[in-house]
């Protein structure tokens, strides 16, 4: 990295005359602050990892030490207790929600941003107005409706509302991306006689990968982590997902922290691993929301 890339490093002339030790600390202060905060982030994560293979006694008495003997049984217990069914339900619900949500959002955002039709502005404003609506603000009627449709305790009963609740945010992000899309490309394709559908699929979409990926990653994390609707609409066992399952698990093993932490860890580590491997995409996805 060149010197120019270090905008306001502490090389200002007035600094030079200071006590060198103080100057050193001052220059290192940003580093120190950030490293201290990193420790604050890492300690709980590392604690979860080690505690999940400890005995109960060790967790309580030697919170920071390594286990004398790794208790892998804590992980075996997850499967013995049937928790993997909940994980599987979460996978189905997440994939089942995010894929259609993103497809219909792309379609709607594209039409709203690039096409001209009556009511376009009104529809967009309506969608944006509702993007801050939390599920608890429509909880009771939504519950009754999904119940009347016979969809309580089914995957679909979770998926459909998830899709609907994800649409506003996805549309807003994609809309602003499509708005900036250079119109020359579309124009040229249209003159070549491409159908609007083909223009979207063959020309616009391939160039929209970053925005679409942003939305996919963001919504996958949201749906995977969702708790409130799942706790109401799938309180029975059939479609229970991991977030609500963990509360049952906690009720069952309440003072057996290592067993609970094994589940927490199993639910967290893969995401952390994916994140570390695909870090660039994650960061770009979340930063991309700022575009």
């Amino acid at each position: 990295m060149s010197e120019a890339a270090v905008p306001y490093a502490a090389e200002a002339p007035a600094r030079r005359r200071r006590n060198p030790a103080a100057a050193f600390v001052l220059r290192r202060l940003p580093h120190l602050v950030l490293i201290a905060y990193c420790a604050l982030v890492l300690v709980p994560i590392v604690w979860v990892m080690t505690a999940s293979v400890k005995t109960r006694r060790e967790v309580f008495l030697e919170p920071l030490g390594l286990p004398a003997e790794a208790q892998w049984g804590n992980y075996a217990n997850i499967f013995e207790s049937g928790f993997h069914h909940y994980i599987w339900n979460s996978v189905i619900v997440t994939v089942g929600s995010v894929v259609p949500m993103v497809v219909v959002s792309i379609m709607a955002a594209y039409a709203l941003a690039r096409r001209v039709f009556i009511g376009r502005g009104a529809i967009y404003v309506l969608i944006v107005l509702t993007y801050a609506i939390p599920v608890h603000s429509i909880l009771v009627p939504l519950y009754r409706m999904v119940d009347d449709m016979g969809l309580l305790n089914t995957h679909l009963g979770l998926i459909l509302p998830h899709i609907a609740l994800g649409i506003p945010f996805s549309v807003v992000i994609l809309y602003s991306f499509f708005l900036d899309f250079p119109s020359e490309l579309e124009e040229a394709a249209r003159i070549d006689g491409c159908s609007p559908w083909r223009i979207l699929v063959a020309i616009v979409l391939p160039l929209s990968a970053p925005a679409v990926l942003s939305v996919v990653i963001f919504q996958t994390v949201s749906v995977w982590n969702e708790f409130l609707w799942a706790s109401i609409a799938a309180s029975g066992e059939e479609a229970r997902v991991w977030t609500t399952g963990i509360m049952q698990f906690q009720g069952e093993y309440s003072s057996d922290w290592p067993k609970i932490l094994a589940v927490v860890n199993l639910m967290t580590l893969p995401l952390l691993a994916i994140y570390i491997v695909a870090q660039r995409h994650f960061v770009r996805a979340f930063a991309g929301i700022g575009k």
Binding site: Y143, D147, D148, G150, L152, S231, I232, S235, G236, E237, T244, M247, Q248, F249, Q250, G251, E252, S254, S255
Partner: protein, 421 residues
Amino acid sequence: MRTTFIATTTAALLAAGVAGAQTTITFQDQGPEREPFNEEAIRLFEEANPDIDVEYAWQANEPYKTGIKVMMESNDPPDVYFVWAGSFANDIADTGVVSEISDSETRGDAWTRGASKGIVDQFRHNDGLYGVPAEIYTKTMWKNDAFFDDNGLEVPETLDELRTLCGRIREVDPLMVPISFGASESWTINHYLTILFQRHVPIETALADYQLQAPADELFTHPGYEKALEDFVSLIDAQCFNDGINSVTPEVGRTMFATELAAMNFCGSWCPPMFDDQGFAGRYSMFPFPRIEGAEGDQDGVLVGAVGYQVSEASDEREAALKFVSHLLSPEMAALRARMIGRIPSNNAALEDGDLAPMAAALLDMATSAPVSVPPLNTIVETSVSDVILKSGQDLVAGTITPAEFMDRVRAQARDAASRG
């Protein structure tokens, strides 16, 4: 060979198809502790009734409290489900989703054989019967025997002695918590208040207040309530409990006692199996909650409540559901329940010596011989008032309100609830 095999299979399939009026009922229970018994009881039931399948599921204690209410508000509630007798069961019945089952009682279904009338009555509400009792529970003090013996400590008979004992324990072993107490779920505070109110307020006065039957301006005005709360606070001030009561879970509280980090515990009849699970079997014993000198209530009263099962009104298979309830709560199954999971069945008609674990037998004896018994406040006090008591309990522990302010809140809510009728 092969053809015969196919022929037989087809025949079997056809037979099943003909007999195929297979009925399925759903059964929702609380907590994993009853799982071994439930599974065995269901196996026996399905053996005797091959045309009925029972789908059994449970939820852990805390999620169950909301979970079952959510389910009962749906169009497809479980056919048979667990309830605590009292306002929890009655509130659900008030929404009109619970089946009235006095027909099952009149025709003398299996569960009625030898059932105690007093306990069955706990499921009566608005002149109807909305549930069948399964177990009774009680709550008492437990102590670590070795710790008491080694340090020459005596079982406290009065609340004063208990307070003094707390100080003594802190002196002899600063690391030992006198009484472990977890109230992240505020029903545990409620249980202390239940017994303290019982000690301080005459039972007739208390019951009239709890059910909002006293005149509105006299509700909860007995001075004993405030004294009871002061006694509760005095236990906190005497350092009887562990730190952070409000954020310790009840389970951690129990675990502290069972792992000898606490000398005493106020715990229910469901606790001994849990203590034993943690390897504490045979090293603890029970003693009654201390008396309070000069208080106006009954000094030998105990907390006793019942749990049971309701049948849903929306059930398509009401007869099958009643058949199952009747089997599950029959005297024979009650004995099995006692043997397998150590709970105290509400029906002891078929109980034989040895079915009840010694500890459970002692608890049952304590419950039945007490001159006065009250169910926990949150199962008997009107719901909105009970909610205030539950929530304010944590405030009291935290020291943000005084006993007087606590009772002001209770009275205000009670008047409000009474006026709403």
